[in-house]
Symmetry: D3
Subunit: 194 residues, 6 copies
């Protein structure tokens, strides 16, 4: 029994069955199964338009796994703090699990979902999340002092660019997920809880 | 390793050691240990002033376990939805665990923490949480139509009184917890996850 | 003629007549009549469930009149500033009158109802109300610096606990009162106006 | 003793003494003394620049006392509801007294200061204040349906124009008063309390 | 073709034809035609009640063109920043054109409409607009430090009075314009674009 | 003279000179020059990391010019309404120009920048922008009724997906642009003004 809706999204998108997908996508989904134990529902949702799926996943992979001065955990921390600010169910579930996994700390995932200000963080992490949440909540009010606060704890200008892009990305995907009521795979919930 | 601070609160309250407490409080804490596997940190925090501990626990027990047309699960659901709206870390952790326990549904706890609007709820539950969250966020804007919406899904006027009181209670304890940086017992996190 | 609704609350709660109440409650109400010139409507409202009335009044009396480093006037000032922030009609009327009474200053009651920032207050009072209003409006954003600001003007950690609890209490009762449209006794309005 | 600051405004404006004012202004102030028992501080404040005083008072008198389908009480009710929304101390004190005076109902002044939604109002009054407060809080969100709601309870298009102008006027003077910390005459507080 | 509504306002105000107006108003409108190439729609709207037109234009002319330590461009900059904050279509169009005209800088008009924080301004201009926008968005929160920030960049107390009055004026006219859906003359749009 | 800052962004990103770029990017920029009369600054900014530039432009081109039930003008209208809500200077300038170009209506660009609610739009356009702005401002509050409102004016579920993705995209790029103070090419300002 679950209070989580059963659909992938609330829209009729004509999502193709797995064996109707082009071979390269089938292979990509097989790799997901292998590495994550599932194909994330966001990928299934985008698979109704393959050109979008392709450009979305390229951009996602570039930002989350590409070259950057930010660690993969830091990028996931931004993902959860932003998604909590926007109260996006899909992204808090999926990326909360990723934070628990990368950090080995189940409380960190909970803290970022519930209120990152309550967490015991390094100065660097705190400044990074303060900036990510400020551009989420009041992007029009960002001024030079906000960028300088990041430099003051050791971030380079290239790092600031990356923080802005990762935080920006989840401000996009949070809204797409909420707009279409996208539901996360149930497997995420119990992962890395202790 | 945990990103959760180690203290009970950020204040120096002179919390007495367990064996310094009066006998009746020691017994009460023993019962907590037995039933919950821990003494909730909120009780330890209030134990620095025993008259407050007494009146707080009486009031809490009356509202959460006393006579009411609301089930215990419904009262816990209100607790979590309100605490999510106020982003109170302590109460989301402690009462999120209670929702998972009472409902047997780990996703319900997550949904109420992350965004109750994304959950598949009965009409009754949805109306109850809409009212609880509205009195949390814009109490000044409550009008007769809001009360009528509860009657329309079957709540009695006595039930509405109880919803208001339970929602009110967490608006109090959320603020006390956030004001003093109260930290939940670590045991809650892994409880009833699957 | 009065634009104030005539009811105690907008709910049908089956409030017992005074002579139907248990003897100890009748005595308590007689004392109210004697000291305040009335039985506050909030007590009449809770009297439909005597176990709640008992635990509510105990908790209320403990916080407002119990041992504390805060004066009774300071606690009432918090009550009004919080109730103004939440725009609770009942509590602004009842506790505005209490502030006028304790302080002997009719303008202080008005200032706290209308905008406490416009009042000429001591540093200590200003810091206390700034904290009380911040935990009312943005409890999730409280950080150590907010607690330190109270210590800097001379409050002890036990005082901070008490400010948090008094402010928390009115965040509860404001919401209960607004949720059920509780109306204050008309006697309050003209009290201590000059 | 009063917690209200002693100044007229927090600025050094070089306000002339009464006998330094031009004769016609002295006469105008004498009439104020006679009719109101005081010269309202807002007039003293503007008297440092007589051309502004002249155009401000003409505009004020035109809107509040000129030809209109709105009664004088209705215009004062708008003044208080708008000033409450903006939490302007000066205007809530001065126009709250006017509402108590015109209506003969001390609770009406309090209700409009504290939360007009709690008052027992006619449909016409409620619609008028809902519109006035909406253009105060979210002017960008006004749509045709908001104007139609006024027509539906009997207001003409000329009345809507007047509601907009009176509400607009207090959105101006609330901000001027708050910006310069203008203080109301102490005489207002005790007027028409019972 | 234009997506801008064709009416002057959404209300039936019985605006007189030009040749039905009193001679002095006809002359005033002729001067507008000569100087501005049009009669601004706001004047036509007020012309349905000539006493209001008279007091509105006197007050407007006094604040925008009267004696002041603020330049005419500075007053127009305040007009646009405030109107942007309130999202008033009429005033952004009309005063955006005035800023482009006075400054000879088409980007300045755009920056003030879109987000004044993104503009390269002098310290004096920045402080002036920060104050004007703060009294627009959170007038209740203005404290002495906000006035001092203006003095620190060289404004006199009389200048602060003028900033407050100009910002206040547009908080009024923005709301009147939005409340009645007042539409700007089409001529403004293309003026001073390069 | 321009109040617009001279930089592309406020960060030191080591943007390569045009002739240092790979040949295929040089060609892409030549095409921009030819078609738009400039290389948009957003592309120059991303060119400091070519893998990001590639995935960003693919995704952008897919959403704005790819297969969709939305016209290109509709997609640009969403871009401006979202960017206005977020007060992003770069995107309002660049996409405001695009709306003026595609629509041939200079007032439409202004209306969407200043307040889309003031525009005379078709039912379809109004519903589309209401949804785009709601997912921008309160994404957590989207419910089935919001999606149904789009279906009611003729949008298919695939169209809803596209509206969500285009609105999502600008919620991302608005935040990146504001976070790094990205400045639009000056050429945009005077384009298609009449």
């Amino acid at each position: 029994m679950s209070a989580q809706p059963k659909h992938i999204t609330a829209l009729e998108l004509g999502i193709p069955k797995r064996d109707e997908l082009p071979e390269n996508i089938q292979k990509y989904f097989d790799i997901c199964d292998e590495k994550l134990g599932m194909v994330p529902n966001v990928l299934k949702a985008y698979s109704h338009r393959l050109t979008q799926l392709d450009s979305f996943t390229r951009f996602y992979n570039e930002l989350m796994f590409g070259e950057s001065g930010l660690t993969k955990l830091e990028r996931e921390m931004i993902a959860v703090a932003v998604s909590s600010s926007n109260r996006c169910y899909y992204c808090q579930v999926a990326h909360g699990a990723a934070v628990r996994d990368y950090s080995g700390d189940p409380t960190l995932g909970e803290l970022l979902v519930m209120n990152y200000r309550a967490a015991e963080l390094s100065e660097r992490e705190r400044a990074m999340l303060d900036f990510a949440v400020k551009i989420t909540e009041t992007p029009h009010a960002i001024v030079e002092a906000d960028r300088q606060a990041l430099r003051d704890v050791g971030f380079s200008d290239l790092d600031i660019w990356d923080i802005a892009n990762v935080a920006g990305f989840y401000n996009m995907s949070n809204r797409v997920a909420s707009a279409v009521d996208m539901q996360p795979n149930l497997e995420y919930h119990a992962q890395n809880r202790s």
